[in-house]
Assembly symmetry: C3
Homo-oligomer: 346 residues x 3
């Protein structure tokens, strides 16, 4: 994204900060301490990189309040309580000015049923399809080529990227961000096995996505068998994640890419799950727990646990087992020696 800021503009975005040095350069790029050049802004987010500051060629550096040292000529140090968050503020400002501009309304190529109720501040992009009985809230933005089934409710200030798919009867809260290719409300995977064949159990429940949820590209969330699959407020889900039917996820969870959560499991609040983990069906993960990447969780987990491995056990135990497994060649040799000794002693 292109941008150009004078120093004064940057300072006004950041709020309270301590500025040292001066420059007439405009800031047109962002880079790491090592890669930054003239007209870039850089930041010290992790103290282990502090030795890189003195050689950094950035025009502006965001530094912690207590950082010692002085800017070079034509360089500015901005000391601030959180340089990383300061960068986030600047990036947010850049993003806001580079997003596609739009006027509220419905693109003439969108196919929208007459019964649909769309707030007058919302935007429905080209080639979207919205079926009967659906409601779209204020300031909600639908990119393009999105499918919204019948009787769906979408709240205010949502952002849906292209090719998002929300099937009928699902409910989306406010300030929800759905990335490209997300599927909300595909049928749960359930069959009755009769006479050697699998007969589909109709999946007539719904998905409820609460406020402030973000869901990554091509992630799939199945509708419940008859009640609801629920994603709690403030939870953030990465790309290519699978959430099965009847799963209930609490508030402010983080679920990293390619994780799968099987049917009817419950995740309480504030849980963090690493990438490619698998959660079995019909279990409960206690509040505040942390699950390592690639783990396979097969049983209930108490609150504030930290588990790892397949099948998952406590992180400490899992690390211990891995470490001892690596010493198995040695252990087999030691047992061999003991056996030889014992046969001699026999």
């Amino acid at each position: 994204m292109e941008f150009s800021y004078k120093i004064d503009e940057l300072i006004s975005i950041l709020g309270e900060s301590n500025v040292e040095g001066s420059t007439n350069n405009k800031i047109t790029g962002i880079a790491s301490l090592k890669n930054a050049g003239s007209c870039d802004i850089s930041f010290l987010g992790n103290m282990k990189y502090s030795k890189d500051v003195s050689n950094c060629k950035a025009t502006v550096l965001l530094l912690p309040l207590n950082f010692e040292g002085q800017p070079k000529d034509n360089q500015v140090y901005i000391r601030i309580s959180s340089p990383s968050y300061a960068l986030t503020l600047i990036c947010g400002h850049i993003e806001k000015h580079n997003l596609k501009k739009y006027s509220p309304g419905i693109h003439p190529t969108a196919v929208v049923d007459n019964s649909v109720i769309i707030d007058k501040t919302a935007y429905i992009g080209p080639l979207c399809v919205i079926e009967e009985g659906t409601k779209i809230g204020a300031n909600t933005y639908l990119d393009a080529q999105i499918y919204i089934g019948k009787n769906v409710e979408i709240g205010d200030d949502c952002r849906l990227s292209a090719h998002v798919n929300i099937s009928s009867y699902n409910k989306i809260g406010n300030r929800v961000h759905l990335h490209a290719g997300v599927v909300i409300g595909s049928d749960g995977y359930g069959y009755e096995f009769i006479d050697g064949k699998h007969f589909k159990s109709p999946q007539i429940g719904k998905v409820v996505v609460e406020d402030d949820v973000e869901i990554g590209a091509n992630t799939t969330i199945d509708r419940a068998r008859f009640s609801e699959t629920r994603i709690g407020q403030g939870t953030k889900i990465d790309n290519l994640v699978q959430i099965a039917h009847n799963v209930v996820i609490g508030k402010n969870c983080l679920i990293v890419s390619q994780t799968g959560i099987s049917g009817s499991s419950i995740l309480e609040d504030n849980i963090i799950i690493g990438g490619q983990a698998g959660i079995a069906g019909h279990i409960t993960i206690g509040e505040g727990s942390k699950i390592g990447g690639q783990s396979g969780v097969t049983n209930n987990i108490p609150s504030k646990s930290y588990v790892n491995g397949t099948p998952a056990c406590s992180h400490y135990k899992s690390q211990k087992i891995i470490s001892l497994s690596r010493r198995l060649p040695d252990l087999f040799k030691r047992v061999k020696i003991l056996e030889e000794f014992s046969s001699e002693a026999d």
Copy 2:
């Protein structure tokens, strides 16, 4: 989905059953024994929940034929051979009356080549694209924004959700259900390595999906190098599964979410694969086998096996190894003691 049934209507959906109690309430919801309230129907699908029946506030309960106990006032017990299947019948009835209504025909915004042959009972939704030479069977329903390439054949009574993608030359049977974002017939992953670069092997085969197959959201199935990738009759595939080129899958298999099957492998009939499992290329999984979630299968598996772990071995052996691995800290201590003893004895 919204619905409202009088007791008599429910009974007529269920067929033979044994009804006790009476109510004038209409049934407008479905809930578990614990969550059900007035005007809900609930069911006892698993005897371990039988103690919840007496406190259940549902207006109607589906119970096994031999269940003892009596309904409260304004409550009805329906005893029936399979309460779970009875619920499936009711859900199916609800679903049928809540699906989007449509009249056969082609939506005016669909882009359909003149040479395409579409049965007069089929429905082609808004903004679908269908290329030359393709045939669509009777009562087949294409939701919206679907892409069908050239010379594709799709049978009768199929249901394709929005954003499904079937590329040229592939063949879909009857009563096939493809969920949102499914990709059928992407190129197989094959390259010739020449002079330090990877040159693409053209993938000119096809995918054949037999009758009664269901495929979950965002699952991908690659076309064969020159012959066919085949999904057998009655097989059900979950979301985000990867089926590589030249794979042949038998009848009535279940393949759970995020599993990957590598090129040219053969799955015989009636196989069940848990979530996130991986099957190596060029191997055969024997009929009736069961493969645990997150397993990695690297060799042929005989019929009726049950395997687990990476690399997969028999479930029994895999459980034994996990259990003994957890006792490694103890084993290392025991060997240490033996060594001390033996050095004293020396």
Copy 3:
């Protein structure tokens, strides 16, 4: 795909070869040695199948230069330096004649901003959306229902399948092939944790896909936080792969299906990663390394390593540990015997 070749036509596609036998049959199919029949071509790509040649019923067989034996009546042997590559040449010829024919231009149903610059030899298929400021190069082909955001650059001779999604500000090189449902430039997964909630770090960087890259169906590649996510020249990525923000991948890598690469990691050139592997964030995989399927790589890997397992270690060590783990039941028994012996000796 349908085709029909006389022997002379086949020979002219193959270039230098040694032809024995004759036939008037036309070649209309390709099959393995075991499955081939009359009018098929078959090939001996792996010498372990050489015993199948004499019984093969194919009309034409592609064989290695030194292969002994003679064709039957009405059968032709073509001896050539690489039968597999010869087949690739023929498949390429068939594919070229079976792809959808198109004339350059923009389909009237595509929604293309006036500011977009499209080479006059490019093709934009039905119901594509292309936002302002974007450029599309010569001979580039966009299938259908594709979304291209604003200020995107796409080079020459690219092929994008239906439902591909490239968000704003990303850059695609020449001869890039993106399969159905690929998402390029979804937001990276980054949050600041403040007062018990996760606040989004704006993701304002981009994705750069270099020349000759192929990316499989439904794969997702996130844009960088502020710099770039990069896929190096000639790298081939399979289906359902996740590439997180700020990842940099070198040239001529192979990344098999369902692998996930976490944020800011660096893959040097010529790396091969098996299916369902996971690479942790902020690590470097050295040039020419090979990573086994389902591995979990948590640390830097030196050049030309071959690693396996979770957490990954050298392939040799990983195989050794697996092999010894399987002998744990025996080891526990042996230690038990030693203990009994030592207690007797006590």
